[in-house]
Symmetry: C2
Subunit: 125 residues, 2 copies
């Protein structure tokens, strides 16, 4: 059974626009650590070292960079409390929650894709 290719994903005109939007989204979401850090902070606000401990494997250099990126993009805030010594607490913003639908679809697709790959490996080893 064949699907008519026109209108199958999106019209040919909106295509370039859509692609640009998708690439923008992927740029923000992407990399080995960004989502892990967001999910970690969505569960609760944390200190630098707490994050580094929970997101196992991340180095302090990379974590510092990711936190800066995520702050710039509005996913987290860096709160400085003037205690002695100053305590810095990273917090997920409500904007992090706007990723909900995206993550739901990516999770669903990623899951079925892995199962599909497993099956095709069984068929042709």
């Amino acid at each position: 059974m064949k699907v008519i290719t026109n209108e199958s994903l999106i019209g040919i005109e909106e295509c370039a626009d859509s692609l640009k939007n998708v690439l923008d989204a992927l740029y923000v979401i992407n990399g080995k650590w960004k989502l892990a850090v967001i999910l970690c902070l969505v569960q609760s606000s944390k200190h630098f070292n707490e994050i580094q401990h929970e997101v196992t494997g991340i180095s302090s250099k990379v974590l510092a960079k990711e936190l800066k990126d995520l702050e710039l993009n509005g996913f987290i805030t860096r709160n400085i409390y003037p205690t002695t010594p100053v305590s810095i607490i990273y917090e997920a913003t409500e904007y992090s929650l706007t990723l909900k639908n995206v993550l739901r679809e990516l999770t669903a697709w990623g899951k079925q894709h892995r199962e599909k790959v497993k099956q095709s490996m069984r068929l042709r080893p």
Copy 2:
């Protein structure tokens, strides 16, 4: 107004699983060209040179690699017709269409994110 952080994105237990699925999905989708090539072929099947002409900026080396990757992952098929000279036509599979929901959410999110970034740049230039 604060949102209760538990249950806000996903439960803390499914979190690691979900993250794995998302990273798997991103791995397949990712890179500068993959989605552009898929969208190009979803509109109609094409020759190598036609794709290279339509996806402006891609080099033949990179296109060859992307086509191999996409074929391995089941997004496209490489059809060889025994004419003289042989003609090779790349075709999107129906599996490409399973990305529909993912692309819809990424498009929507990417669009609103760009507008949000534009606004915040107007507020603090």
